[in-house]
């Protein structure tokens, strides 16, 4: 396994992003991204769990028999999630009320178990924790983007109620993008989540296709003379 | 007579008026005749003449091979100038074995089998034998050897002979003209066929758009008071000429899938086949010419022509003064099920009922659009299929899925593609899929065969190796035994010396 931190970061943020590339964790994704603030909260909670679980799984990786690794990972994750839930209930009660049910559901977030299984259980402690962090940030990034788009279109605001979550000093984040907006309710509803996610995925594919196109063009350039030779040969 | 409805079907623009009024003409002999050995369904015929042979009209050029095949006879007298591969009358334009013959212009008959004076007095088998010897095949286009169909008598309990005179393809009028001009002979042929099959009655099914032919046949029947021939006027609807649908219209019975109409007691013969059979039975003449409709908007002169088998299509077109404009498509057969002609150098064969030169306003070539699921094809399909769905599967190469929903029950009549508002070439999709499936089967068969061969070879190698080892072991044993014997001898010698 590589401990190329740059690579880990770029993988997690873009090319192997939990949402945009692996298409995991769609349940919390679609459910809580009605606003950017919710997305941010959910994303950070998940990041905390990812970092901690990566750390612990990596530390214990030599002790855990392969036969029981999945129950063991689940146990670790479940305990971490319970801790996070308690922490949020205690210190970020308002956000806790909004996210509610979805905090315990982080346990079943397949991205976390997936990272534990595919990465943390195979590498040293530091890269595992770093990967957890970057994956979490990648997930947060996706949640915030999705939440922001849905929020802007559905309500015309951005990061509404951010102060509830981050404290009053962050109230500058709360922007009303389109004043006197009538609202486009559909985007706040679950179908809106699917629609925006679909469009974002399409957008990513277009971007990826564009960045890989020059290589293809070169390849074509190389094969062309060969084809000509054959024609001449005939 | 009570008719039964068939489902689906279409009413294409008939365009029969282009040639329906033209009496049958004979075409002068061309300078060369090219006679393919594969003019029928089944195994190609085997040549019995050689290059340079002088042949007489009606002489056998190639004989049938195997149970499903048909003999081929010389259309005129002349010299065999070549036997080899030549462009076949087939859409692919690939070559097939062909006999090339140069007519000597004398048109001399050779020795023909003796006419059967009273066909109704002889055993049906005698007639079947004569039909087989005369190389007669189904002349409606399917070209199935007729003698094989006559043999169905021994396999199935037959009740009815249906004469297919529907001629439902647009443009084509060759059967119509034959029934009008040679009605006596046609009826006679039908009665001979009825006798040969041993059935009670024959029903002639004519589409309502041929009233003259209908009247002509009726007149013959009533004049002679034939009780065994019924004439039925079937609705004008394509594809009425499809054997199974014609039988359903007349009897109300559907032929079970993957079965023959004979399984429900009905045998269908084309009306032109009946005429050919009569010629063979009454006069001993083999099938060496047929009536062909030349039509289409791009032809200068249209008409119906009696053409010797093997006549190059270009000769026929020239005889009709050529084209008045560049044809968009040149077809052998009708516009619905006919095949494009790869080259006008190919010839008229036993199954060619028409040569059509269509101009662009007759064959609108249009852009294929996506399917909008309008289901016109579903209501047009006479076989109860869902063509748009089948084509969708085939487009995605899901051939098995297409078979599952009935691809192999498709008769390729083209009704679906005719109605399709998106101009999707549905029939070509189906032909492609059917062909590809056959190719896959062939490949699989070959793979199994080669696997068997490999196994066989490995066993042989193993055997050889074992045999070699055994031989070596034997040799070694022998050597050792010899050594031992020698040593023994030596010892014995020494002992004797010592003693």
């Amino acid at each position: 396994m590589s401990t190329d931190y740059k690579r880990i970061a770029s993988d997690a943020m873009w090319s192997n992003n939990v949402v945009f590339a692996q298409m995991l964790a769609l349940c919390p994704l679609l459910a809580v991204t009605g606003t950017a603030t919710n997305g941010l909260g959910m994303g950070l909670a998940t990041t905390a769990v990812l970092v901690a679980s990566g750390l612990i799984v990596s530390i214990l990786r030599k002790m855990i028999e392969p036969e029981i690794r999945i129950p063991a990972f689940v146990l670790i994750i479940a305990i971490l999630v319970t801790l996070v839930e308690m922490v949020m209930n205690a210190w970020l009660h308002d956000l806790y009320k909004v996210l509610g049910l979805f905090i315990p559901l982080i346990v079943t977030n397949c991205a976390i178990l997936g990272r534990a299984e595919a990465f943390a259980s195979k590498v040293k402690v530091l890269p595992a924790a770093f990967d957890g962090l970057m994956m979490g940030l990648g997930f947060t990034f996706a949640l915030v983007v999705l939440g922001a788009i849905r929020e802007i279109i559905s309500a015309g605001t951005l990061f509404a109620n951010a102060s509830l979550f981050l404290g009053d000093s962050f109230s500058f984040l709360e922007i009303t993008v389109i004043p006197e907006y009538r609202g486009f309710l559909l985007l706040a509803l679950p179908p809106g989540g699917f629609l925006v996610l679909g469009l974002l995925l399409a957008g990513k594919r277009i971007l990826d296709a564009r960045s890989s196109r020059p290589a293809d063009a070169d390849a074509e350039e190389e094969t062309r003379p060969a084809a000509k030779e054959i024609v001449v040969g005939n | 007579m009570k008719m039964f409805r068939i489902k689906g079907g279409i009413h294409p623009d008939e365009r029969k008026d282009l040639a329906a009024g033209k009496a049958i003409e004979t075409v002068p002999l061309p300078s060369l005749l090219r006679i393919p050995l594969q003019q029928h369904i089944g195994a190609p015929a085997v040549t019995v003449v050689e290059k340079g042979d002088e042949v007489k009209k009606g002489q056998v050029l190639a004989s049938a091979r195997g149970p499903v095949s048909a003999a081929i006879h010389a259309p005129t007298s002349g010299r065999i100038s070549a036997i080899g591969r030549f462009v076949a009358p087939h859409p692919s334009g690939l070559p097939g074995q062909t006999i090339t013959m140069r007519p000597d212009g004398k048109d001399e008959w050779g020795e023909l089998p003796a006419p059967i004076e009273d066909p109704f007095a002889v055993e049906p088998d005698v007639i079947a034998e004569r039909v087989a010897a005369s190389g007669i095949v189904g002349m409606g286009g399917a070209t199935f050897p007729s003698a094989v169909k006559l043999g169905l008598r021994n396999r199935n309990k037959l009740e009815t002979l249906v004469i297919n005179a529907a001629e439902c393809e647009p443009y084509l009028t060759c059967d119509d003209r034959m029934m009008r001009e040679r009605s006596e002979a046609v009826i006679d042929g039908i009665r001979i066929l009825r006798h040969a099959l041993g059935v009670e009655r024959a029903i002639i099914a004519i589409e309502g758009n041929k009233p003259e032919a209908l009247a002509a046949l009726k007149a013959v029947c009533s004049a002679n008071q034939f009780k065994d021939v019924l004439i039925a006027r079937v609705p004008t609807r394509y594809p009425m000429g499809s054997e199974k649908h014609l039988v359903q219209t007349l009897t109300g019975k559907e032929t079970p899938a993957r079965a023959l109409t004979a399984d429900i007691g009905v045998v269908v013969h084309n009306v032109a086949t009946c005429y050919a059979i009569r010629e063979a039975v009454r006069f001993g003449r083999p099938l060496i010419s047929r009536i062909v409709t030349v039509s289409g908007g791009a032809m200068k002169r249209t008409g119906n022509f009696e053409v010797p088998i093997g006549t190059p299509i270009s000769h026929l077109i020239d005889h009709c003064d050529g084209f008045n404009k560049e044809p968009d498509r040149l077809l052998l057969g009708g516009p619905m099920m006919g095949q494009p002609i790869a080259s006008t150098r190919t010839s008229i064969v036993k199954g060619s009922n028409g040569v059509l030169a269509l101009c662009p306003d007759e064959t609108p070539a249009r852009q294929t659009m996506p399917c909008i699921r309008c289901a016109s094809c579903v209501s047009a399909c006479p076989c109860g299929l869902t063509p748009f769905e089948m084509a969708g599967h085939i487009r995605k190469e899901e051939l098995d899925a297409a078979v599952k929903i009935g691809l192999l029950d498709c008769i390729a009549c083209g009704s679906c593609a005719w109605v399709c508002p998106a101009s999707i070439p549905l029939v070509q999709y189906f032909n492609y899929a059917k062909g590809k499936l056959t190719a896959q089967q062939r490949a699989k068969h070959k793979q199994e065969e080669t696997k068997r061969l490999t196994q066989f070879r490995e066993e042989r190698m193993e055997r050889q190796k074992r045999a070699k080892q055994e031989a070596m072991a034997r040799m070694k044993a022998e050597r050792e035994a010899k050594k031992k014997a020698e040593a023994e001898k030596k010892r014995a010698k020494q002992e004797t010396i010592g003693a």
Partner: protein
Amino acid sequence: MIEAMAVLFGLGGALGGGLGLAAYYLRVEGNPIAEEIEGLLPGTNCGQCGYLGCSAAAEGLAKGEIGVAMCPPGGKTLASQLADKLGVEADLSGMKDKGPVTAFIFEDLCTGCTKCLKRCPTDAIVGASRQMHGVVDDACTGCEVCEEVCPTGAITMRPVTDTLMTWHWPKPDTGLAA
């Protein structure tokens, strides 16, 4: 506190025991898919894939040691079949499909050395020592083994061309419905 620990310990013991038993009794050996794959391969053991025979190649495929585009006699068709069976996405666009080929022997170059004859896995080459050899098209799989062993370069692979018997309509142009 004590209760939480007790519950977790209890659950751990019971479920862990169950898992241990499962790991012991439900062990899976062998690979059933290899046999299915072998059924798809040509079965001529020509060895062009690098394995000793088709059965070994099937094992290799099942283990994922080799890509699906490994069998020249099978061509693109086989590769896509294998990809289906193995449930992998294979990019076959780069794989040039020569289509089926069969061996052809140039008469004037053949010395009758019987080298090809001995190597042909399907006995598709006929002939005898010092006599011109010929290929039985129906038995030839186009595995190219003979081409490799021929000392005079008298054997070449020719694409199988359509005949009236094998030709079928090409797939129509999909038009705008792409």
